[in-house]
């Protein structure tokens, strides 16, 4: 008969059996038994964040950069409510997380006990699924099911709420192979008839485009490999959403760059002008489509997604394929090859002629003149000096995030961690900590704005404690740059509350934590300063003072179509009408 153990010991055993090596968390009254169990073992590292939100974002960074689920452990009440932003962020971006929360003892639930919150109630809409475990006998099985749900199908965050008496009580442990995983088992193979229909469309297409997204990353490395094979062998152009950067290498000659609101001119024009759109693991987000009535008006569309609810949600598609990207792409390639690898080569050649003309617009062109650093220049230099490294990039949210997506090149998936769907300022710094924990030898850089970075700056303590040499590359314009840009464009230059007043001295701030601070305001010394950042063995806070009023272009204004992009300041007069101005 299996040996009995406490609920707290079960948690640790279940995590070990699930292959977990790192847990991000913060202790408190209702999880003390689990922390006691952590203290008495050496297999699982616990990383003490400085705020529960930081712990969840760190777990997201860990998950996104490894493809494994991220694990968090926080206490009841405020511990759980502080985790809500991270859970919502992970849900929007389909990041697999298992968050364990402590809860007041079962006999006190509902009594408004100290640090009691209705955690499963609060997190129901921001998790893929959640559980309140009331019996120790069910605890291990529930944790195994939680890992199954978080990582199967469209990944997402799950939460297991564990009352304190359940952690103390003893019972038999259920190993993963004996756990009841429920009936949740999403379909992996796509419908072969629709796949054949897609292959026929590929053979005939005159102006095709691959439109790929974060689903390719989530499907795993095989999906990226198959995607590359499909792109190379068909010769079709490819663009990607913010979440899918790296699935196809930025150095590849079929690469058009990112699409969407701040996407590249050639990518958006290709989307608008194509006759076959092959959506692979993207979800027609409103940052991508612009106004729906004029979205890619003349194309036949296919949508490959593991989540049936993503299909026909905003854009009607002719060829919906529900399934895992890698499985579906393998079938697409097999069918296409067996039918003789045909494409409409003449038409594709003409299409590339058009695409190359659009490329000549050079929509990311800028001029670094004078003695103030342009943010685009800072990122261009960062790219140049770091691209040969084993490099992972995280970002905060705002202008710097879009510039990073435009000016940094990603050669592989899982190298780019950013908050896409929720747009969470304060994501990047803790995420960089999670990435560095998973990849101790890699160069991990968080491209940040000063305002976003301050939102989770307490995590400096975490970076120092675990000697994580994360590089915080702050493009400091002393503004909420994206808010300021919209106010300039839409609100008559009334810059309501969009400047960063009373900023700290970032160099001294770094030094106060025992880290290294670097400030740079001169384009001529920028390269040296970046090299100093890279070579320093430890966390660096890099305060890069940039042009304060630079705007992020290209930009599709709200309420406009892909072919109505603004390319620079000269285009903006009268660009957004009253109807567009109320869009977000």
């Amino acid at each position: 008969m299996a040996q009995k153990m406490t609920g707290a010991e079960m948690v640790i055993k279940a995590l070990k059996d699930q292959g977990v090596d790192t847990v991000f968390g913060y202790p408190g009254g209702a999880v003390l038994p689990i922390y006691d169990a952590i203290f008495q073992q050496n297999d699982i590292r616990h990383v003490l964040a400085r705020h529960e939100q930081g712990a969840v974002h760190a777990a997201e960074g860990y998950a996104r950069s490894t493809g494994k689920p991220g694990v968090c452990l926080v206490t009841s009440g405020p511990g759980a409510t502080n985790a809500v932003t991270g859970l919502t962020d992970a849900l929007m971006d389909s990041i697999p997380l298992v968050v364990l929360t402590g809860q007041v003892p079962t006999f006190m639930i509902g009594s408004d006990a100290f640090q009691e919150a209705d955690t499963v109630g609060i997190t129901r809409p921001c998790t893929k699924h959640n559980w309140l475990v009331k019996e120790t006998s069910e605890l291990a099985s529930t944790i195994h099911e939680a890992f199954h749900v978080a990582t199967t199908g469209r990944p997402g965050p799950v939460l297991v709420d564990i009352p304190k008496d359940v952690q103390f009580a003893t019972d038999k442990y259920t190993p993963p192979e004996k756990a009841d995983l429920g009936h949740y088992q999403p379909q992996l193979k796509g419908d072969i008839e629709t796949i054949t229909e897609l292959v026929e469309a590929i053979e005939k297409a005159e102006r095709p485009v691959f439109y790929t997204g974060g689903g390719v990353v989530n499907s795993g490395p095989a999906a990226s490999q198959l995607l590359r094979e499909l792109v190379e062998s068909t010769g079709f152009p490819i663009t990607s959403t913010l979440m899918g950067l790296g699935c196809y290498p930025a150095s590849g000659d079929k690469w058009l760059g990112m699409l969407g609101m701040h996407g590249l001119y050639e990518a958006n024009m290709a989307m608008h002008g194509c006759d076959l759109m092959i959506n692979i693991g993207a979800r027609f987000d409103d940052r991508i489509t612009g106004v729906l009535d004029s979205f890619s008006p003349n194309s036949k569309k296919t949508h490959i997604d593991i989540d049936p609810s993503s299909i026909n949600k905003v854009i009607r598609v002719e060829m919906p394929i529900v399934g895992d990207i890698a499985h579906v792409l393998e079938d697409v390639l097999n069918v296409w090859k067996s039918r003789g690898r045909k494409t409409n080569a003449g038409a594709i050649k003409n299409w590339w002629g058009q695409l190359n003309d659009w490329r000549k617009i050079d929509c990311l062109g800028f001029e670094q003149k004078g003695n103030v650093i342009k943010p685009q220049y800072a990122l261009q230099r960062l790219e140049e000096l770091t691209k040969k490294h084993d490099r992972y990039i995280t970002t905060e949210v705002g202008q710097h995030q879009m510039w990073a997506a435009q000016y940094l090149g990603f050669e592989d998936p899982n190298r780019w961690m950013t908050s896409g769907g929720l747009g969470t300022m304060g994501y990047g710094f803790p995420a960089s900590i999670g990435v560095q924990m998973a990849h101790p030898e890699a160069l991990v850089i968080n491209v940040a704005g000063e305002a976003s970075w301050l939102m989770n700056m307490q995590e400096m303590g975490t970076a120092m404690q675990y000697r994580l040499p994360v590089k915080q590359f702050i493009l400091n314009n002393e503004r909420l740059g994206m808010v300021r840009q919209w106010q300039e464009l839409l609100h008559g230059e009334r810059y309501s509350e969009s400047w960063s007043s009373s900023l700290p001295d970032f160099v001294k701030l770094a030094e106060a934590f025992g880290a290294k601070g670097i400030r740079c305001s001169d384009p001529d010394t920028l390269d040296d300063a970046i090299m100093e950042m890279i070579t320093h063995d430890g966390p660096v806070l890099f305060d890069c003072l940039v042009e304060k009023h630079e705007n992020c272009f290209p930009m599709i204004p709200s309420g406009k179509a892909h072919n109505e992009m603004l390319l620079g300041d000269d285009d903006t007069a009268g660009a957004i009408d009253a109807k567009g101005s109320v869009l977000v």
Binding site: D307, N312, S558, G559, S581
Partner: protein, 187 residues
Amino acid sequence: MSPLKIKKGANSHSAYNLRPNFSDVQETHTLAVLVDNEAGVLARVIGLFAGRGYNIESLTVAEVDHLGKLSRITVVTKGTPQVIEQIKAQLGRIVPVHQVNDLTVEGPTVERELALFKVEGTGEKRVEALRLADIFRANVVDSTLESFVFELTGPSDKIDAFADLMRPLGLLELARTGVAALSRGGA
């Protein structure tokens, strides 16, 4: 960058109602949702409707398989064909949901509702209420010298019709269960 001239007070649009050219026709559908009978499952279903702005016209839930711990939720909802498709897909995404059937598109169905009517009155009105109840095959389940409680089972429109008739005759209170539905024929 030059400032733009924006009209003040524009307020009727947001990025989330830039609807594509899907059909605007509102359809009423009856969905049968088979779920694990576990804590919070109804909250998940209702929360989905509330959170995504879908309509619930009627909702019933009860355990239908005690051994398998399964409950059946019957929900009547209204929306454009695209919204109905979304509702079904979103319901299917909920982990404890086993199966979603759209009874409205899957062929003919039987839909029944049970209602209790408390009607107060004396004299001719009381006699008329009893006569109408007889025509509708409603049962008298409680009676005092001044009141009746009628029990009526039938499709929702029959309940509506009976309620309309009882109103001038002294309808005091009305309790309805909501729709339970099954497809006709075998399997």
